[in-house]
Subunit: 558 residues, 2 copies
Amino acid sequence: MQHFFEKHEATLNKAIDACKKRYAWTAYVESPSSKIHGKDIPAAGKHTFEQLLGKDYDLQQPGEIGRVGEEISPYTRQPLGVSYPKVDVEQLYSAIGVAMPSWRDASVETRTGVCLEILDRCSQQLFENAHATMHTAGQSYIMAFAGSGANALDRGLEALAYAYQAMKDVPQSAEWERAFGGDGNAKLTKHYKLMPRGVSVAICCATFPLWNGYPALIASLATGNPVVFKPHPNTVLPVALAVSICREVLSEAGFDPNLVTMVADTRDEPATMALLEHPSTAIIDFTGSPRFGQWIESHCRKAQVYTETAGCNSVVIESTDNLPAMCKAIAHSLCQASAQMCTSVQNIHIPANGIVAAGEQVSFDQLADALVHAVDQHLADPKMATFLCGTLVSDDIYQNIDRAREAGKVRGKILRDSAPYNAEDYPDARTATPLMLEVTQAESDLYRAEHFGPISFLIKGDSAEHCLHAATTDARECGAITSHVYSVNEQFLDAAQDAYNLAGASVACNLMGMPINFAAAYSDYHVTGLNPAGNACLADLAFVANRFRIVQRKVMCS
Amino acid sequence: MQHFFEKHEATLNKAIDACKKRYAWTAYVESPSSKIHGKDIPAAGKHTFEQLLGKDYDLQQPGEIGRVGEEISPYTRQPLGVSYPKVDVEQLYSAIGVAMPSWRDASVETRTGVCLEILDRCSQQLFENAHATMHTAGQSYIMAFAGSGANALDRGLEALAYAYQAMKDVPQSAEWERAFGGDGNAKLTKHYKLMPRGVSVAICCATFPLWNGYPALIASLATGNPVVFKPHPNTVLPVALAVSICREVLSEAGFDPNLVTMVADTRDEPATMALLEHPSTAIIDFTGSPRFGQWIESHCRKAQVYTETAGCNSVVIESTDNLPAMCKAIAHSLCQASAQMCTSVQNIHIPANGIVAAGEQVSFDQLADALVHAVDQHLADPKMATFLCGTLVSDDIYQNIDRAREAGKVRGKILRDSAPYNAEDYPDARTATPLMLEVTQAESDLYRAEHFGPISFLIKGDSAEHCLHAATTDARECGAITSHVYSVNEQFLDAAQDAYNLAGASVACNLMGMPINFAAAYSDYHVTGLNPAGNACLADLAFVANRFRIVQRKVMCS
């Protein structure tokens, strides 16, 4: 529908401008505060969420052959009791095949308009989706509304800005005329048509299902491809809510809602391989473990594959002019969302002989103490701790913590042990405070893998240069999504930035007074694609330009 | 060197405009005529070529461990006697590694300027390169100067226009500022750096070595990647000449010439796998057989792979208003470059009950006769035949013709047999006129593969619709780079265009009075990437956007 495009055209243009200049901007309201929204809207969102519990989720998809659903709230430890269609993939793909042609043949503006409307309606759904995200992914309410909500929607819009530009780079037609030898002028009218690649499968992770979900959806849908979501069995509801919006908007715009569908599954009976290996699957967006991501990159050769996995995000501390602020910033990353974010810090590299902070020598042990203290400070107020840490997405995280604790005891020492904290309002919540371990670089086999959850290593290096060398080697070889350096030494800072960049990693320097995990849509190129933590950037031109192809027809003018 | 960019900036801007609007344009002189160039320049080019014969080619590359060279002129059947470095790949890659950093760190304008200068100097080298192309690839002088020369250089410039735009889409820096909660404003200065992927290997084919060679070279080099050419053992000299220019311009601009190198090999001791499997190889551009192309697509997962291979290009004839002009146009494709072009027609689908031409019923046999006659007409004048057909790239083509002739005898009939023709000035030239076979659709296993060389099939279908169905099915399943339809029936023409496009193939309608094999840089999207004849389009944004990645550094402002 052209009117959706016109309705949101200013937003699209602003997003394009923001991508070009990369300033701070958001299209969606980031705060759930009732000061902004009033009391009714937040309450209505909560009510809508609660009405979904214990029921069949209303998703009328073809090929339904049963119902599945095994979500358990990390806050209450109670099953949500929501069931979703279990679908026969062949029947679903048949229906998708029927849906494709009219979407393929729609204009760029029509498809872009539908995508803009989807994003807009998803932004109006953020309250209920935040509650759904809390009680599946385990995020805090604020994180679920902002990070998994508005910030993720911004990334969807960012992907749309690129997709729109890449498509508009192809003109619809051209007149072409030239002479060949003595035959007179040859005149051709040419038409160029954008062709989608085929079915696009978006595999979402448990902790931040829509973080890459919105960009994958929008990048593929805008360029003409139907999208099949495969949510993690732990975290289906936030995805289902977004899928419902897509289907509603598509229907209103006169398209087949089966252009966006969802295949829910269970841990015991996963559906992922059936989707990955389906001959009609032409695009795969994957967010999840490095191991599975690399398997997909290696094996799914018939499809365009875009991955964001994980690495071992590092901090190198060489010096600082503000020890408390630096420690507070790093500690924030160790606590935020219980370090279950793709941008959470895991490995903190510190010279054995300590650092200079605001002109004073600070020993390794003093710095370690300061970091532990800063974590404790973040946790001091139960309400703030709940907002900051949220809960653990699954019991597996406890096992990760236990394994790391045991390894830490043997191979280093425990600087701060992990324990549950009392989440406000949710006495049964699955929680854990940060486990902080001290090790030397000799234990690199331990810390060079991702330890998912609130687990961090303070790694003693012989010197700041050794720290930097280890951290950047790890980024190159094991992957990194974010990397940090703290230094007031310009020479070291330059060397560190070069070293991280040459390792294929982006780097942030001296971040304080802000959540250092924050990745800004329109401004930060999230994931470089140059190290093992992912093969794509969300978003840049490369993320969208190969999701469609161009066919042409040329006709000789008589 | 910034001055190269300034020197050629107007040309770049014109290329960008031509890509956006896709009108007819060329940056390079297409005709070798002495009316344009005078007599001295063409003569000097020929002399330069002749001076190269029987000698070691002067290419000072690291890792030289011997000399190889087995080129034989298809015109004289005599060895060229030119030898090229046989290189140790490890030593070469080490030297390339040394060359990379300064090129990586050069500005977009500097790299683009060097590429523009390379293209410009290659355009001044077209006379000697045309002779080199004649006496290796076997092309006619005119084709070697235009198709393999100016037209191919245009495609290099087209790739550069896209690469430049994709790189300039990324700003160099940004100021970013926003508030998080009550902590005051966070201000970051961000820098974005383009990072090349690594060594780019360009595997060239024997018949048109630089057709995709220039675009691959320029797309990778402009985006910061060193390029290693792997020419076909039959056709090294045209590539060596281009490599020499690259090295000369790079040196003049203050860069390491090892940013562009060449690995020559022999049929008995091929070097391709060592390049494909080298861990530093990050990009592969392949032109050649579908079988090897698909192997590379499936197996070289660590690299970005761009292929142009081959399919079975088709014509569907439903009706025409100008039988002689149509037959002349199709026959031209069967003759041009002895049908060794990626755009040559192989399969001509004709309804069993014939067609209507300018209101008159024309039977299948009459149309077949007219096509045979049109071929004979193109060959009537030996001078024109030589210009049009050139020679055969290797003796293998005779075997292809023999095999097709035998199959045709058994499974259909020979409408026109192939035989050598007398190439003007070259009594020993390896030549063959078109073999034209009549078969029915029952022989689809025969004609659904590429028969490389002057071999074509007139395929009898039950109806025009059957012809179209067979041709488009073959395009989808077996690949197609060009497809043609002749019809004066608007309804059929629309259906045909839709059918080809939906098969992932581009289509040309009613082309006459021009060489129908012609693919226009800046206007035609050459290769769709949607059928087995290649996975990439040369050129579009997708051809360039993933040859580099983006790393960033952000620093908190104090």
